[in-house]
Symmetry: C2
Subunit: 306 residues, 2 copies
């Protein structure tokens, strides 16, 4: 089979780990990841695409132990910028910067973000597909009471994700279209898995692109979500703040509420009333655990089919 | 004295060495270098300005032994680009890249190239002024018989300065204006020295900016040139090819012919008939030699005054 048929929707680490497990469990060529570009940022002359890149680096076994960026990367350029007096609030390794500078060059030459990432991933040896949700720019903006509107990276990194979220916008989403690759992957899927990423900040921007939610509902494949809440807690990132902003319960049921009619089932370590649930240990701390969660999720989804 | 009064016109290495010697001989605060921006190139998301930067790195004692770039710089980003399959024909160290990325950011924020370099040089501790000849873009293009028109860097580095030069254009020069800083420096000068740089490729673009040649002629200060030809040879770069293209003799007399009525005197290791000449050893291989050539040149120029 040359077309991928297992689709993972992913933001950052949670979705990336599930995608990695899925590639191990089912084979990389069966996996296509639809990744959030709402966190993209243009900085240092480069086009940085944190979520699609995190997924790519995980798939290539190139992710650094620190949880982001390329393994063993150096930081000579950031150090030099600091020497020049620049307030380096957004850290990027040298190899990571090269990756993002080369993407910016490809975009300037007219390639789409989908094509540019495909070229980069070919060089990195990634065999699964990583598909930006759209070739059009969508940017997630957050409003915090004290500081006002900020781009997602500014909120997350510069402002350390502090403060009460009072607003959330997926700017550009209404004018954006899903790429042909994304629509093709959804239409050809046998299983669609929403990764354990922040529903509002990571999956929300994907679903905000007109046509993607509709395509997921219309797809022949079952749609299941893996809950990002483990043992009643969020493992990483400001998901709790976003769930509170959306008045959602911090539980698998709250996540299910957010996705609504999209879902055919939920994978979580707790039961969700009124929805097909695979109750299992969803921690993915090592390769075996990642492959197990992926494999169980895939079997569960296949069992929900038609 | 707070305003610099010794003006050096410079391209790359020759002019930079003379400027360094002048700063040692007369004090950095007396020196302003008017530097060629015709070799500038936008690449890797950065704004690279080879001649003004070479002068700056020389003035900061930060030039690497290889003759370009910052001392002891690493090349992690270039290595990473090569890993991605990029044909890296233009090499740039990591700290050098940071320098040029930061300039690009400042330009995008609306600073002029003059202001951006002033900020960068402040951080590097350069006390002499380095003034790009214009805040407007001027780009030197070369036509080679076999390969056609190429930008200066492409000709010099990618094509290794090979082939017969059949055309030379300072594109954008006619629409460019000298910066206020350049005109102010020339007007306030007590001595103006054209460095031993390639007359056509390095000094030519400066003189092609409308108003600079006129300002040099109108200046109260004497204008002297240091010949780039030493022992009948060119020490560095493709000066011979350019002199041949312009049908100029490869000698101090040929250089004097190119500058014409601009010159009040010439510093060279050979005599120039019909022009006040300081005949001296013009090699500048070490700090002492650089300071001596600078000091003798300055005394010679001062002797020509009034």
């Amino acid at each position: 089979m040359s077309q991928p048929d297992i689709i993972v929707l992913a933001g950052g680490t949670g979705g990336a780990k599930l995608a990695r497990g899925m590639a191990d469990a089912a084979g990389a060529q069966r996996v296509a990841v639809i990744a959030n570009t709402g966190d993209d940022i243009e900085i240092y002359g480069a086009h940085v695409s944190p979520d699609p890149d995190l997924v790519s680096f995980w798939l290539a076994d190139a992710i650094d132990d620190r949880g982001w960026g390329l393994q063993g990367d150096s930081f000579a350029v950031m150090d030099a910028l600091r020497e020049l007096g620049v307030d380096v609030w957004f850290n990027l390794g040298d190899r990571d910067l090269a990756w993002c500078l080369e993407r910016a060059r490809m975009l300037a030459e007219g390639l789409s973000v989908t094509e540019a990432l495909a070229c980069l991933n070919l060089a990195l040896g990634v065999r699964a597909r990583v598909l930006p949700m759209s070739d059009d720019p969508v940017r997630t903006w957050i409003r915090i009471g004290e500081t006002g509107w900020a781009g997602f990276q500014e909120f997350m990194i510069r402002d350390r994700a502090t403060g009460l979220i009072e607003g959330l916008e997926y700017r550009g989403a209404e004018q954006a279209a899903p790429s042909a690759e994304v629509l093709g992957a959804i239409a050809g899927a046998t299983a669609i898995v929403i990764g354990p990423s922040n529903p509002l900040a990571s999956i929300g921007p994907i679903l905000a692109v007109p046509g993607i939610r509709e395509a997921l509902i219309a797809a022949a494949a079952p749609v299941v979500a893996v809950s990002p809440i483990v043992g009643g807690k969020v493992l990483k990132g400001p998901t709790a703040q976003f769930m509170a902003f959306a008045a959602l319960e911090l539980s698998a049921a709250g996540v299910a509420d957010f996705y609504g009619e999209l879902l055919d089932g939920m994978v979580a370590d707790e039961n969700v009333a009124g929805l097909a649930t695979l109750q299992t240990d969803t921690r993915m701390d090592d390769p075996l655990a990642r492959a197990r969660v992926a494999s169980e999720t895939l079997s569960f989804a296949e069992g929900l089919r038609g």
